[in-house]
Structure formats: structure tokens, C-alpha cells
């Protein structure tokens, strides 16, 4: 097969060319933090299974300044991750119709953000109630 000797635009650093691509790559990077958080919980389970001393060492490590700084960064990543997930919901879920009218994209995003806020507050309140009834 003969190849045409035309210019092929290099792909190196393609995502730096456009703000939309940069936001896309930032969203993909947040997956690293989601994976890291899951691994961290898994390590916590390992330490818990090993007994009190091992678990307390893991818990003490969480309270160190580097761990707190990392979790502040992780929280920012999770917030961006959550927002991008809810923002594309109008495109990723099937059409919803109410009385023969398609529910608008905006209404879907607002419903998603509202559900997240309510679920998060409910979780926080539940934890507080369990700790101090």
C-alpha cells in the first residue's frame, strides 16, 4: 500500500492546545484521586484486620500535615470530578419526558447537584448522630 506523504499533525501535547481539552484532561486526572482514595480505604481495612496497634498507626498517619494537605487536594479533585459527572448527565442518561415534554438539560443538572448536596448532608448528619446521639 502506498502512503501519501502529507503532513501529519503531531499528537504530542494535543490537550494543551484548547481550554476544552485541558478541562477534559483535568477531569481524567481526577480519576487518579478516586483510585488513590479507594486504595487508601483498602489499606485502612488491611490495618484494621491486623489489629489495634496497626490500625492506630494508620489513623495517626491520617492526622499528619502531609496527609491533611493531600486530602485537601483530594477533596478539590473529588468536587471537580462530581461536578463534571453531574454536568454531562443530560448527555449520558436517556431522555426523560414529563407530560410529553423533554426535561431540559439544565433541570437534569440542577436535580443532580441537588441530589448530591442532600445525600452529602444526610451522610454528615447520620455520622454525627451515630457519634453523639
Amino acid at each position: 500500500m502506498a502512503y501519501l506523504h502529507t503532513h501529519v499533525r503531531p499528537m504530542q501535547g494535543w490537550w494543551r492546545r484548547n481550554p476544552f481539552y485541558r478541562r477534559y484532561m483535568l477531569r481524567e486526572v481526577t480519576a487518579l484521586f478516586v483510585a488513590a482514595y479507594a486504595v487508601e480505604l483498602l489499606v485502612g481495612l488491611v490495618r484494621l484486620a491486623q489489629g489495634r496497634a496497626a490500625y492506630e498507626a494508620w489513623r495517626a498517619a491520617l492526622a499528619t500535615p502531609p496527609a491533611l494537605a493531600f486530602h485537601a487536594l483530594t477533596l478539590a479533585a473529588f468536587l471537580y470530578h462530581a461536578w463534571t459527572w453531574l454536568e454531562v448527565m443530560p448527555k449520558t442518561m436517556p431522555f426523560v419526558t414529563v407530560r410529553d415534554h423533554r426535561v431540559s438539560d439544565r433541570a437534569i443538572v440542577v436535580a443532580g447537584v441537588t441530589a448530591s448536596v442532600i445525600a452529602s448532608i444526610a451522610l454528615f448528619v447520620a455520622v454525627r448522630l451515630v457519634i453523639a446521639p
Partner: protein, 118 residues
Amino acid sequence: MKRSNKPIFWSLFGAGGMLAALIGPMLVFMTGLAIPGGFLLPPEAMSYERVLALARHPLGKFALLAIIALFLFHAMHRLYHSLHDLGIEVGPGRRALFHGLAGAGTLAAAALLLVIGT
């Protein structure tokens, strides 16, 4: 025609994404900042006794397994698809590796929850 396994992994990816969007930031805030820092929640919230009781309760086991497994499947699926964006070749081997890592983490969490007992 051989059935595709894509719907399974996409469902796990979707479920993980939805769980992360609903409660992910709050989980990180509580377990990573509020409780270790003693801010809004006391550090004793994650004492050995409390977390052991959580891991021994059937609902606690379910919640811990769901969070770890779905977050892993969600993140590994997305990271697998990012390989192509970075110009790294993808194929059945790499796909199996990424989904396999999530599967291994899920099995490890399930095994640990079994060992911890009731």
C-alpha cells in the same frame, strides 16, 4: 457472536461515578480532613472500636465494599481510556490489566471484610 462484556464494566463505571458524585466529596472531607483534624467531627469518630464495629456490621460491610469496589472500577475504567489520550497503545491486555486491578482490589476488600468477621 460472542457477547461483549462492555455493558458490565460500563455499569460498574457508571455506578462508581454516580456514587462518587453523590457522596465522594463528603466522604473525603469526613475521613480525610474533618475527623483526623478534629474539625466539626471528633477524632474518636474513627476510633478502633467504632471502625471495627462498622466493618463487622452487615450494612457497614456492604457500604465499605461498595465504596471501594465501585470507586476502583470507576477510576480504573476511566484511566484505561485515558491511556489512548496520552498516546499509549491500548488493547485487550491493557484493558484486562486495568479491570483486573479493580477486580483484585474488590476481592481483597471482600476477603478482609470476611476475615474481620461479625
